[in-house]
C-alpha cells in the first residue's frame, strides 16, 4: 500500500476546505495545509494570537516578529486582513465563528473525543495553549495524523487513554492510510489508500469500521 506522506496528507485536507471558509490551522503539520489552498480562492486563515487573513511566510528580509502565527513563526497578512486582541480572537473561536480547525492528535476516539495536549507522562510539564478552545470552538474539527504510533498502536481508538482535550469534538480524521469520519455513530471509512482493504484497516486499528 502507498502511505501518504505529510505533504500529500496536507494536500488531501486542503481539498476538503471550501472557498469562503474561516479556518484555523493548528501548530505543526496542519500549518502545511495552507500551502495547498488554491491561490485563486478566498479561504480565510485565522491565527488565534490575533490575526485573520493570514498570508504565507515572508521573505527573510520582510520578517517582522510582531507578525507571527500561533506557532511563533513569521507570517504575512493579506489585503483584507485584520488584527484583534486575544479576547476577541477566542470569542471568534468559542463562539462558533470558525468553520474548520485542523489539529494534530495523539489519539482520537471513534466518537470524536480528542487527546492532543498531554501524553499523561507524570514528569511532563503540562502546556495546553489554545488546544482546548480550538477543539470545542470550531464548527468542524479535522484531525491530521499518522494512523499508527511508531510502535504500531492505533491512534484511532475506542476510548482515549491520554488526557482529553475535548469531548465529541472531532468530525474527520485524515491519516496516512485513509480518511475517517467519527462521531455519535462511531467511525466510518471515507477513503483508503490504494492497496489497503477494510479488513486490514480493522486489524490495524482494532476498532469497528464500516465504509461511509
Amino acid at each position: 500500500m502507498q502511505r501518504m506522506d505529510r505533504t500529500a496528507l496536507a494536500a488531501r485536507v486542503a481539498r476538503d476546505i471550501p472557498e469562503g471558509a474561516y479556518v484555523n490551522l493548528g501548530i505543526g503539520a496542519p500549518t502545511m495545509v495552507a500551502n495547498f489552498l488554491p491561490r485563486d480562492k478566498d479561504v480565510f486563515l485565522q491565527s488565534e494570537n490575533g490575526l485573520l487573513g493570514m498570508g504565507p511566510a515572508p521573505a527573510e528580509a520582510d520578517i517582522d516578529w510582531e507578525l507571527i502565527n500561533a506557532g511563533k513563526q513569521p507570517v504575512t497578512i493579506l489585503a483584507g486582513g485584520a488584527y484583534f486582541h486575544h479576547g476577541d480572537s477566542f470569542a471568534m473561536m468559542r463562539g462558533g465563528h470558525i468553520d474548520i480547525c485542523v489539529l494534530g492528535a495523539f489519539q482520537v476516539s471513534v466518537h470524536g473525543d480528542l487527546a492532543n495536549w498531554h501524553t499523561g507522562a507524570p514528569d511532563a510539564i503540562p502546556a495546553v495553549g489554545g488546544a482546548m478552545d480550538l477543539a470545542i470552538g470550531a464548527r468542524q474539527v479535522f484531525v491530521m495524523m499518522d494512523l499508527l504510533t511508531k510502535t504500531g498502536d492505533s491512534k484511532l481508538v475506542n476510548r482515549c487513554t491520554y488526557p482529553l482535550t475535548g469531548l465529541a469534538c472531532v468530525s474527520r480524521v485524515y491519516t496516512d492510510v485513509g480518511v475517517f469520519s467519527v462521531g455519535p455513530e462511531g467511525a466510518r471509512v471515507i477513503e483508503m489508500v490504494d492497496g489497503l482493504t477494510l479488513d486490514e484497516l480493522r486489524k490495524m486499528t482494532g476498532v469497528e469500521l464500516e465504509m461511509a
Binding site: 485565522q46 483584507g80 479576547g87 468559542r94
Partner: protein, 225 residues
C-alpha cells in the same frame, strides 16, 4: 472570490422568516439601520422578536416595524421615548411582549452569545424587579445575577464602510451595538455608506472583522447624507 456585497436591499434581507429574532443596532437614531428596517417591512416577515436598545420612536425604523404589526416581542432596555407611541399603544393593548433588560446586561448577554459563553454572573440588577425569579449567587462578597446569552437569527447593523470580505469600520457613537450584535447573530447584514477596495481598510483599525459579517449593502448616497 468571496464578495459579501449585495446590490439591493431585498437581496440583503433575503431569507428572513416569520418568527425570526432580529438584533438591530443603534442608540436612538445613531447607528440605526433605517434602510434595512425598511427592507424588512417590504419583505413582509412577521411575528418577529426585536433585540435593540430602544423600541423605536416617531414613524420610521423600529417604530414603523411595530406600526406594521410585524413584531411579537421586544427585548430592549429603554422602550419609553418621547415619540414611542407605536410601541406604547401595542404594549398597553397587550399585543406586544416586552423583555426589559438593563442596558449593560443587554450588551453583556449579546457579547456572551457572540463569545460562546453559556451564562454570566452579572452584578447589575441584583435585588431589583428585573432580577426577580433569577438565580443569584454571592461571589467574593458581592451579589450577582445569572444571565443567559441572547442569540439572534439575524443582526441588522449600520456601519460607515466595508470591503468585500465584510470588514467594517463605524462612525462616532453610531458604533454602539453594531460590533457586538454582528458577533451574536447567525446572519449579520450590514448597511454602509461606502464600499471600499479590499486592503483599503487598515488592519489595525478594522472594528468588526469580516468573519462576523454575511452580507453588506450600500445605501444610496442621499440616505447617508
Amino acid at each position: 472570490m468571496i464578495n459579501k456585497i449585495v446590490d439591493t436591499m431585498s437581496e440583503a434581507v433575503a431569507g428572513l422568516h416569520d418568527g425570526a429574532s432580529i438584533m438591530i443596532s443603534g442608540f436612538g437614531d445613531a447607528g440605526a439601520p433605517a434602510e434595512l428596517i425598511e427592507a424588512v417591512i417590504a419583505h413582509g416577515a412577521t411575528d418577529l422578536t426585536i433585540i435593540s436598545n430602544n423600541a423605536g420612536s416617531g414613524e420610521t425604523g423600529i417604530a414603523a416595524l411595530i406600526k406594521a404589526n410585524r413584531v411579537r416581542k421586544v427585548i430592549c432596555s429603554f422602550p419609553r421615548q418621547a415619540a414611542s407611541h407605536h410601541f406604547d399603544t401595542r404594549y398597553r393593548a397587550g399585543e406586544i411582549e416586552l423583555e426589559l433588560v438593563p442596558q449593560g446586561n443587554l450588551a453583556a448577554r449579546i457579547e456572551a452569545a457572540g463569545a460562546g459563553l453559556g451564562a454570566i454572573f452579572t452584578p447589575t440588577g441584583y435585588g431589583t424587579l428585573l432580577a426577580e425569579g433569577k438565580e443569584t449567587r454571592e461571589i467574593d462578597g458581592r451579589n450577582y445575577v445569572l444571565e443567559y446569552p441572547i442569540h439572534a437569527d439575524f443582526a441588522l447593523v449600520k456601519a460607515r464602510a466595508a470591503d468585500r470580505w465584510g470588514n467594517l469600520v463605524y462612525r462616532k457613537v453610531a458604533r454602539n451595538f453594531g460590533p457586538i450584535m454582528a458577533m451574536a447573530a447567525r446572519t449579520t447584514i450590514v448597511q454602509v455608506a461606502e464600499v471600499v477596495d479590499l486592503g483599503a481598510l487598515d488592519p489595525e483599525v478594522i472594528v468588526t472583522p469580516g468573519i462576523f459579517v454575511n452580507r453588506v449593502v450600500r445605501t444610496s448616497a442621499a440616505a447617508n447624507a
